[in-house]
């Protein structure tokens, strides 16, 4: 215990040092961990796919699925419709697998995981070992292509909840994986989803059995560390009948001058009367002030409300990445099912975000809500793109969408691209949109009451994002507010 305490003190001191050193608006997760990695050569072909599958000791059926995806991907073209431009991605110039070399072949517990890795997650504020781990939330820690460890597994097992890395699930729970993997996002879905299906590395697997309310929050922390490496996480959450789970996701990466690719797929399945709450705070490195470097974030997230009265909500705070391309969606198949999407997307410097949601109404009396808040500053572009689709079977379907954009400064831009397709005349669809600037009169009003420039901006932004923040779990919402404040420091003047 003594040694442990010393360790914590070190971490705290280290953090303080960094805090003092960092100037306004700097990225505090930009450090790199020096660790020996198992990293097969760059490039992508069938052998790469086979190698990844081999490294993960996967069964034959998994490899077959990957190969089908890879062959399909080869026939596809990268989409060009997003509202931003980026340099071409050379898919042969990327490492597709990078895993820290274990000191021990198979660590029996989290205590045996490489100290360097544990220290890395400590620095990120995610202690993993049993004495120090966070209470009230189970964490799966993913470092480049592999999961380093998962906390609270034995406690969760008592409830029948399975929470482990995707690689572990493929081996230990093949029937569940076979049944649900690709059932919401097929490997043919889109360019980046197909790529992911071929080369996916690690992510989390959550299974909540019938009637169980998951006693703690589940979370995954994704860390990109290795250079020139793509991260292809794959997450699958299954909530059986009448179960409930709240899942959180966080992400960071070191600061580098070159761009790095992140192409993830997340699938959620909610059966009858089940509820899944999925929250993300995305803070990948977004590049420097001139727009050099940063993560290209191409993500497919989709949930299926398969059962009656089921509910899925996506809440996201997107504050990082040079490029964000992401449309968390819900397929409302079960009658009376409910889909929700709450989003704050903040872009500064030269960041680009093209993000929004898709709500596909199939079942009767299905309801969806979209609340999107985009904040753009410096030279950034921020677009909301969304689809509300009401199928002929969806009698009595309802949707409400609200998309608000706020501009900070004169060189940024905001766009809204709402697509609405209604094929049932009993449906009610509402869409509201607004664009505003942080206005000088609001700023003067707050400052004339003694609040300084930063406090005033932070109050205005908080007020603007309130409808989204209140959907986040408490600790996450505090973190989200701090993150936005930090990002906007120096942008208003």
């Amino acid at each position: 215990m003594e040694a442990n305490k010393g360790n914590m003190a070190d971490i705290v001191r280290q953090k303080e040092l960094e805090d003092n050193k960092l100037a306004a608006g700097d990225y505090r997760y930009g450090f790199h961990t020096d660790i020996e990695e198992d990293k097969p050569p760059k490039g992508l072909n069938e052998d790469t796919v086979r190698l990844i599958s081999f490294k993960k000791k996967e069964p034959e059926w998994m490899l077959e699925w990957r190969l089908k995806a890879f062959r399909y991907w080869q026939t596809m073209k990268e989409p060009t419709w997003p509202n931003f431009e980026y340099g071409p991605i050379d898919y042969q110039d990327i490492y597709y697998y990078s895993a820290p070399k274990p000191k021990k072949a198979t660590p029996a517990s989290l205590e045996e995981v490489d100290q360097e890795l544990l220290k890395t997650f400590d620095r990120l504020g995610i202690p993993l070992t049993e004495q120090k781990r966070l209470t009230g939330v189970a964490v799966d820690a993913v470092f480049d292509s592999i999961s380093v460890g998962t906390t609270h597994q034995s406690e969760l097992a008592k409830y029948g909840v399975i929470f482990c890395s995707m690689s572990e699930a493929v081996i230990k729970h093949p029937d569940l994986v076979k049944k649900y993997l690709g059932s919401v996002v097929p490997y043919t879905d889109n360019f980046f989803a197909s790529l992911n299906a071929a080369v996916f590395s690690d992510g989390s697997f959550c299974f909540i059995p019938k009637g169980v309310r998951c006693p703690i929050e589940l979370s995954t922390y994704f860390r990109i560390n290795a250079e020139n490496t793509g991260q292809f996480e794959r997450t699958l959450v299954i909530a059986e009948e009448s179960s409930y789970v709240s899942y959180l996701e966080g992400c960071t990466a070191p600061m580098r001058d070159t761009n790095q690719l992140h192409a993830a797929v997340v699938e959620l399945v909610a059966l009858d009367h089940a509820e899944i709450k999925y929250s993300t705070v995305q803070n990948w490195y977004s590049g420097d002030k001139e727009g050099r470097g940063g993560i290209y974030n191409f993500v497919t997230k989709r949930g299926k409300c398969a059962g009656v009265n089921s509910q899925i909500s996506w809440t996201q705070v997107e504050a990082g990445s040079a490029i964000t391309w992401k449309y968390p969606s819900v397929i409302l198949q079960g009658d009376n099912s409910v889909g929700k999407f709450y989003s704050v997307a903040l872009t500064n410097h030269y960041m680009n975000a093209d993000t929004g949601s898709k709500m596909i109404h199939i079942g009767k009396n299905t309801k969806s809500t979209i609340v999107s808040k985009g904040i753009s500053s410096d030279h950034a572009h921020n677009s909301y793109r969304g689809l509300v689709k009401i199928m002929p079977s969806a009698d009595g379907a309802r949707n409400f969408s609200q998309c608000d954009s706020m501009l900070v400064g004169n060189n940024c831009s905001a766009n809204t691209f709402p697509y609405i397709e209604v094929r049932n005349n009993t449906a009610v669809v509402e869409h509201e949109a607004s664009t505003s600037k942080i206005n000088a009169e609001q700023m003067f009003y707050l400052r004339s009451r003694g609040l300084d420039l930063e406090e005033s901006v932070s109050l205005i932004i908080n007020g603007f994002c309130k409808d989204v923040f209140k959907e986040l779990p408490l600790e996450f919402s505090v973190e989200a507010v701090k993150l936005l404040e930090m990002k906007l420091e120096g942008s208003v003047g």
Partner: protein, 250 residues
């Protein structure tokens, strides 16, 4: 407490104040009256430090606790923390932020600057509710977002509530009577009267005399075309009410 000397100021290159001279002592209430376009609102914004107005000449000396500072060039938040307050003619809406949160943030910003202890949410809540009684405000007002969907009367009361909470040394009330019905005006005026003290100063900016029936000023100044053209006791207000402004500006 406040000494304005030969103040010239304007907006976007247009001079609006053309040499204002004004002396205000602690404990006094001054009324500044004048026809539309005479520069009344500009004067209040220049005192509060609105960034869009430029002072081209002159000074605004402000003295509290034997410390004299020239407000010209100071940021508006710093002026506020030094005890300068302006009640807005058109209070601004801040969506999503409860009034109580805003008030506490402002109060604590002032406390930090003046070296006093910040109040925790529970103590502040008590303090704020005491002040609300002065203005007979609905308890729920402070849970609503700042000025959003407030009636005209509610907005003006909210301004005076901020004054009561922040406890400024110099308060400039810019047309606080405009848009108020007679009942609201009585409540607001009584609130302001309760906040009068020997060590603070209130400047009332108004177009009409009727507010001065409820808040008795010690001095009345007539502003016309960017200059103070007449200064007298409170009888001047009545005279303006009877005769209009024309006789003053020949």
């Amino acid at each position: 407490m406040l000494e304005i000397k030969d103040l010239h100021a304007g907006i976007e290159g247009k001079e609006i104040l053309k040499g204002i001279n004004l002396n205000v002592n602690a404990g006094e209430v001054h009324a500044i009256m004048g026809p539309n376009g005479s520069g009344k609102s500009t004067l209040s914004k220049v005192i509060a430090g609105h960034p869009q107005y430029t002072v081209t000449k002159g000074s605004i000396d402000y003295e509290v606790n034997f410390k004299k500072i020239n407000l010209v060039g100071m940021d508006p938040d710093l002026r506020a923390r030094e005890g300068v307050f302006m009640a807005f003619q058109y209070p601004v809406e801040i969506p999503g932020i409860p009034t109580s949160v805003f008030l506490r943030a402002a109060f604590n910003a002032v406390c930090r600057h003046q070296g006093t202890v910040e109040m925790d949410p529970i103590d502040f809540d008590k303090y704020m509710r005491e002040k609300m009684k002065i203005l007979s405000m609905d308890e729920k007002t402070i849970d609503r977002p700042v000025n959003v969907d407030f009636s005209g009367g509610e907005k003006k009361r909210n301004e005076i509530l901020q004054m009561a909470v922040l406890n400024p040394r110099l308060a400039v009330l810019d047309e606080t009577d405009s848009g108020l019905d007679i009942d609201s005006m009585k409540i607001v005026s009584e609130g302001v009267n309760k906040l009068r003290r020997r060590d603070n100063t209130i400047i009332l900016i108004t177009h009409y005399q009727r507010l001065l029936n409820y808040i008795q000023p010690d001095f009345v100044h007539i502003l016309y075309n960017g200059r103070i053209v007449k200064s007298e006791g409170k009888e001047l207000a009545q005279e303006v009410e009877n005769r209009g402004y024309d006789w003053l500006i020949q």
